[in-house]
């Protein structure tokens, strides 16, 4: 019998053929979606695709690029944004 807590759709299941020629299900965590730029919806570089609990084990500098808006905007969109800010100065 499967453990009670594993009988949800939030758990990722995988069928594995064992060396004794049996079919076994392996249970694991689901991966979150890849981080995307909130402007252009591109995939972000430098943001690892892991659960938040595992993310905390990384040092802060390897969780996202070290620039303003790093981890939320892509590099090209930050350039556009900063350029807009500067052009508004008087």
């Amino acid at each position: 019998m499967v453990q009670r807590r594993l009988r949800t759709r939030s758990v990722k299941k995988r069928r594995v053929r064992t060396p004794g020629n049996r079919l076994v299900t392996h249970y694991g965590m689901k991966k979150p979606n890849a981080a995307r730029c909130s402007f252009c919806k591109k995939r972000l570089h430098g943001v690892p695709r892991v659960n938040t609990s595992e993310m905390r084990k990384f040092p802060k500098s390897s969780r996202r690029p070290e620039r303003p808006y790093g981890g939320t905007l892509c590099s090209e969109c930050t350039r556009l944004l900063l350029r807009k800010v500067v052009r508004g100065l008087k």
């Binding site: 070290e66 620039r67 303003p68 590099s75 930050t78 350039r79 900063l82 350029r83 500067v86 100065l89």
Partner: protein
């Protein structure tokens, strides 16, 4: 707005993005010498691509390759420190910074042509006369020394990085081999 000497810019790319800096000198068609200064805004004295800069309407009165103190004073005269909400660094920090900073800019700007001339001069030394060499040396020597230190110290050039990677790989291989031998 052009990127003339004294133009205040914002860096748009990289980890220094969103910070202000001042143009000190034109190095190349694509590159420009720039400082924050580091004690004021956080951008250190370095070469910077023009595409990574966005010029602001402000101009600061400085000479080419001005020292960090002069730049900070020039900032303060116009009242930019208040506008950008920057905190002025203490004089002790500035003194320490000046010692470090003086070496950096000169390293960057040594053009390639001078190095070729040096090599030719050295060849002439062996063959022809010593008198000519003496005339040439005192003019060029100070630039030479700084240029040479550049090559070794700055790892940011692409060639240097590749070499480092190769070296690291070799070191790893040696370590693995040693471990295997020890096991046997």
């Amino acid at each position: 707005m052009a990127l003339e000497i004294g133009r205040v810019c914002m860096k748009v790319a990289g980890r220094e993005a969103g910070k202000y800096c001042v143009v000190l000198k034109k190095v190349d068609d694509t590159f420009v010498l720039v400082t924050g200064p580091k004690e004021l805004t956080g951008i250190k004295r370095r070469r910077c691509n023009i595409e990574h800069l966005e010029p602001t309407p402000y101009l600061v009165k400085i000479e080419a390759e001005a020292s960090e103190k002069d730049v900070i004073d020039a900032y303060d005269k116009i009242g930019l420190t208040k506008k950008f909400e920057l905190r002025l660094p203490s004089p002790e920090i500035l003194k320490e910074a000046e010692k470090k900073v003086v070496k950096v800019p000169v390293k960057v700007e040594v053009p390639k042509e001078e190095k070729k001339v040096e090599k030719e001069v050295k060849k002439e030394e062996k063959v022809v006369k010593k008198e000519e060499v003496k005339e040439v040396k005192p003019e060029e020597k100070p630039k030479e020394k700084k240029g040479i230190t550049l090559k070794i110290k700055l790892p940011s050039f692409r060639k240097g990085k590749k070499e480092e990677k190769v070296e690291k790989k070799e070191v790893k291989k040696e370590k693995k081999n040693l471990e295997r031998k020890n096991k046997r």
